[in-house]
Structure formats: structure tokens, C-alpha cells
């Protein structure tokens, strides 16, 4: 058996250089978004829809009414927290693809605490549920994290597999031992204490006081990653863990903790969904929210500020897509296509730019050579 094979597995998923979001990158991003919209428009045309009308409906549906805006902001929070969760782990060199599972586990834990702790003050319930969600999400992330750090088991596959495990497990709990006695709830747990649920900031929308939790966490993560010495250590560990270890940073501990933090943030997202929206755990608590957030984080190269901005854009697409389907009639999945096109272009951005530049350089050199030849 070849050594190379083991090597190639070990070299799996090494991050590409995490450049800064410089001007060039921002231009590329804008171009990619425009191109993606163009692709989307072409698909709409082929399917017999009017692109302008569709896009109009999209933005109208996402930003047009206070309620729509509230929903978009709520979606932004979810995406942004998921994106930050991904960023925290990735910066330290661990790919947490298992956020979806951690979100489920966190949501379930929060829902159970919210339903069981009757008799306590609502504030206490919220705090306890928050803790439960953080611990559940973090602990569930600890499994692949520890396997990665101590045994070098590739975390991408294990986290993806654990997603399926967590979702099945939560669905079993919601259909079995923890199934609510209430009528009309297909698969869900008992509802949480009513007073503990978050209040809506914009009537009828999904935007709730959970926003403050999210803002606090986002701020904390941003500070940690960009302004603190821990962020510095995380960054070096993620780039080159051997270097970090050599420099006296305990890379293993750092990777483990960033994975736990990542899982805890995902757990928090689950809790926000439960306390803000459903008021109980439902098996439909998330619809691959984490994957959207993860892609946002990747596009923005794990830059916390960038993640926040891009989350808003993706939220517009997401929320607007649904109302576009209702009013213009086109299936909202076209949004997923547009999003993935943006991602394809942004992932290849460096390569495409390099290709164009080297072509230009060769052409220039040839031209100069020809001129020199003429002069001689």
C-alpha cells in the first residue's frame, strides 16, 4: 500500500491561504454576485419567467414590509451565528461541518429544560436553557473534536456522519420518549414555559429578543478572533499547527476549545429557534441552516465582520426567495442555485484571477519582445 495515500488523506482539506478581504477580493465578490444573478436570470428566462419581476418580488419580499424585514433579520442572525461558529473552528484549523447536528442537540436540550423547569422564574429558565443548549452543542462537538485532536481522525467525515446521527436521535426523542401529548403536533416535544419564550420585536415577524443574545455572541466572537491574543494563537494554529506548537502555543487545547465554542454557538442557534419561533422542539427546527451559514463563512474567508454582512445578503435571498415563489411563481430553489454559483466563483476567484493575469503578462511580454525585435 502506498504511503502517498495515507499522506493525501492526512493532507485532506488543508485550508487555502486565508487572505484578507482586500479590495481585489471585494471586486471579485461583486462580480460573482452579478454573474450569479445573471445565471439566475437566464434560468428564469428559460423557464418562462420574467427575471425583473422575479428579482423585484425577491427584494420586495425580503425588505418591503416591516414584517418581511424582521424575518430577514431573524434569518440573518441564524446564518451569521452559524457562519461565526464555522469561522471559530476553521480559524483554528478544524472544520466543523457538524453544526447542523449540534444545533439539533442544543435545540432539544433547551426545549427539554424550558418544558421541565416549571415553577422557576422565566429568567432562570432562559438562563438554564441557554446553558443546557451551550453545553449540549459543545459536548456534541467535543466528540469529533477530540477524535481529531488526539487521534487525528478526519473531522469532516465524522462531523457529517454525526449530523445524521444527531438528527435521527433527536427525531427519535421527539417521536418517542419526549413526544408531547398535545394534539396536532406531529413530532415535537412539550412546549416550553410560555413566559420564558422570547418576545417579538416586530409584530408577526420572527425577529425576537433573541437578537440581543445573538449580538452579544457575535461581538464576543469578533473580539476574540480579531482583537485578542487567543485569536492570534488560533489563527497561527489554524494556518500551521506545527508552527504554533513550536512557538509554545498548546495547539491541541486551542483546537479542542475552538471546536467546543463552535458547537456551543450552534447549540445557541438551536435554542434561539426553540425559544423564539417554535416554542418547543420540532424535528423541523432547522432546514440545513448551518450549511448556509458555513458557506457564508467560507465565502468571506472566516472574517467575522464579512460574515455578518454576507449573512444579511444571503438572508435576503432566502426570505425573498419564498415570497418570490408565492408571487412570481418560480420555485424558490433557484435561490440555492444562485448561491452556489456565487460560491463556485468565489472559491475559484484566486485561480481565475491568476489565470487572467498570467495570460495578460504573457501577452505583454510577447508584445514587448516584438517591439524590441522591430527596433533591432
Amino acid at each position: 500500500m502506498s504511503n502517498s495515500f495515507a499522506q493525501s488523506i492526512r493532507a485532506l482539506f488543508r485550508l487555502k491561504p486565508a487572505q484578507k478581504l482586500n479590495r481585489e477580493y471585494r471586486i471579485s465578490l461583486l462580480t460573482a454576485v452579478l454573474l450569479a444573478f445573471l445565471v439566475g436570470a437566464m434560468i428564469m428566462l428559460i423557464c418562462g419567467f420574467d427575471p425583473l419581476k422575479c428579482y423585484g418580488a425577491l427584494f420586495e419580499g425580503a425588505l418591503g414590509k416591516p414584517r418581511a424585514l424582521g424575518n430577514t433579520l431573524a434569518k440573518t442572525i441564524t446564518l451569521c451565528l452559524c457562519g461565526l461558529a464555522m469561522s471559530v473552528a476553521s480559524k483554528a484549523g478544524v472544520f466543523n461541518v457538524g453544526g447542523e447536528g449540534q444545533l439539533y442537540v442544543g435545540a432539544l436540550a433547551a426545549a427539554v429544560v424550558g418544558a421541565q423547569c416549571k415553577g422557576l422564574s422565566p429568567w432562570m429558565v432562559v438562563v438554564l436553557a441557554l446553558l443546557a443548549a451551550l453545553v449540549a452543542g459543545g459536548a456534541f462537538a467535543l466528540i469529533p473534536g477530540a477524535m481529531k485532536v488526539y487521534w487525528k481522525v478526519d473531522e469532516v467525515i465524522t462531523t457529517i456522519m454525526l449530523n445524521s446521527v444527531a438528527i435521527s436521535f433527536c427525531s427519535y426523542m421527539a417521536n418517542g420518549p419526549l413526544k408531547t401529548a398535545e394534539k396536532g403536533i406531529a413530532s415535537g416535544t412539550d412546549s416550553i414555559m410560555k413566559e420564558a419564550g422570547f418576545t417579538k420585536l416586530i409584530p408577526l415577524s420572527n425577529l425576537t429578543t433573541g437578537l440581543f443574545f445573538a449580538a452579544a455572541v457575535a461581538l464576543l466572537v469578533w473580539y476574540l478572533m480579531t482583537r485578542s491574543s487567543i485569536g492570534f494563537e488560533m489563527r497561527l494554529t489554524g494556518d500551521n499547527d506545527r508552527f504554533a506548537k513550536y512557538g509554545g502555543i498548546s495547539a491541541q487545547k486551542l483546537m479542542l476549545w475552538s471546536m467546543i465554542l463552535s458547537g456551543a454557538i450552534c447549540g445557541l442557534v438551536g435554542m434561539l429557534e426553540v425559544f423564539g419561533l417554535h416554542k418547543r422542539f420540532l424535528t423541523t427546527v432547522s432546514n440545513e441552516f448551518y450549511f448556509d451559514g458555513m458557506l457564508v463563512a467560507m465565502i468571506m474567508r472566516y472574517n467575522p465582520f464579512g460574515v455578518i454582512v454576507m449573512s444579511f445578503f444571503f438572508a435576503i435571498l432566502n426570505i425573498g426567495g419564498r415570497s418570490m415563489e408565492l408571487s412570481a411563481g418560480i420555485s424558490s430553489e433557484v435561490i440555492l442555485i444562485i448561491q452556489s454559483v456565487i460560491i463556485f466563483f468565489m472559491a475559484a476567484e484566486g485561480g481565475i484571477r491568476a489565470t487572467l493575469q498570467s495570460r495578460a503578462a504573457v501577452r505583454k511580454a510577447r508584445r514587448e519582445a516584438a517591439e524590441r525585435g522591430n527596433a533591432a
Binding site: 487555502k16 445524521s164 448561491q339 454559483v341
Partner: protein
Amino acid sequence: MKEVFNVLLLQNTLRTATPVVLAALGCLLTQHVNITNIGIDGMMLMGAFFAVLGSYLFESWVMGLLFAMALGVVLGLFYYVFVIRFHSDEFIIGVALNIFAGGLTVFLLRTLFKVKGSFSDPRIVSLPTLTIPGIENIPVLGQLLSGNTLLVYVSWILVPVIWWMIYKTPWGFHLRASGEHPEALAACGKSPERMKCTASVLCGVLSCMAGAHLSLGYLTMFTENMSSARGYVAFACVIFGRGNPLFVFLAALLFGFISALGLRLQKYVPSDLTAMAPYLVTVIMMVVVVLWERRRKRRAGMLAC
């Protein structure tokens, strides 16, 4: 327990394993040229959809399979261009491809067939089942080896063929060299890029065939997200089998066995719990392979002392 452990269990094992085997064969080719193809899951999903589409449009399974394979070529080239030519992050492209696949198939399902969830139609022709005369009538073997659909046999043939190609032909040496030390191959005038491209395209074709087996094999329908992370399982099998088609095949069979067992245990255990089993086993497989590797190395070290 007799209802669980019988020939049908083994039969289900083979059937469940087949798409994973096909996808894993594709994946191991890319793994040998040092491309990490995490997008197999999406390729499978799109393959499944286009197989149904082709079969539906022409009322022929041949066209269904051809549609899927043609799509595989396109996807393989796409992956090659983005990952090798543009040096994109394999992981991002792979994950984005999976999301794209989810979006595209559902979008097309709703736009072309005007349905949600799943699509089946009498016009869709499934893959033919082959009976092998002679073996057919032997009690257990007949049930297992005969009467499977076309792609099951194709996957069985491909396992030794691909093994032979990788380890016994010059082509295989070029393939492995392009992954292990591309400059070595380039230095003798062969293009590693071309090998990588070939592997990527073959991977696309095989993954889409796996998809075709999903939608035209035993079911004749397309369901949203019907690949259900099998692409990732295939990837895990490749790592577990360390790129050797024979071991990868065994790993896929193990996965198939666990899934089949889960299905058959549904009478006794809630289905949500049995659904966890294959994924848990995959995680355990990943751990085991790493620990094995360590022990093997340590042993080698001991001997050398």
C-alpha cells in the same frame, strides 16, 4: 430473529451497498490522483435525477443511464476545472456542489414535473434485472447472485477491473504518480493534469451511475435528497479501504449490511434509531482505520528495533 437474519438480509446488503460501491470506486480514483472529491453526494443526486429524466423522456432505461453518464462527464470536468485549473478549495467546491445539486434537482422537479417531494411516473423505465442461468436455481446463491439489476453486476465487474488497472497497468502507475509526485510524471513527458482530469471525469461518471442505480434500480422514482449522505459514506469507505478497490468494496458491503440490518430490525427498534446505525458505523470505521494505522506503524518500528 429468524425474520431478520435470513437470505433477504444478505440480498438487501448487496442492494444497499451497490450505489456506495460505485461512488466509492469513483472517489478512490480521484483520491489516487490526490483530489479530494467531497462533492460525490451531489453528483449522485444529480445523476439520480437525470437518469429519471432521461428514462422518462425516452421511455428507455438506456437513455436514462446515458443521461446520467453524460452528466457525470460534465460534472467531472467541472470539478477538474475548478479544483485543478483554478486551484479552488476542494472542500468548498464539494460542499457547494452538494448544495447546488439539492437546489437544482428540487428546482427542476418543481419546474419540469410540477411536483414536490418525489416524482414517479409509469413512463419511467427502470434498469433491467439480469438472471444468470445455472446459478438461478441454486437455493441461497441463486437468490443472491441472480436477479439483480444491471448496475449491481457492473459494480462487481468494476471492482477487480479497477484494481487491475490501478496496480497492474502502466496507466495505473501514471495515475498514482500524478497524485503522489506529479512532477515525476511531468518530468517524463506525461501530463499529470490529464491523469487528474481522467480520474475526475471517471469519478463523475461512476458517481452519476450510482445515482442512476438509486433512482432506476429498485425504485423507479426520484425523491428529494435521495442520496442521503451516501456520497460521504462512499468517501469514508475509500479512506477505510485505503484506496484499494477490494478493501473499499468490503467497506461498502459492511455499510450495506448495517443499513440492511437496520431496515430489517425496524419491527423491533424505532426506525429513527436504526437510521443512525450506518452513520455511527462509518464514524467508528474512521476511528478504527486511524488506530489500525498507528498500531501497524508502531509494530513496524518494533520489528526494526
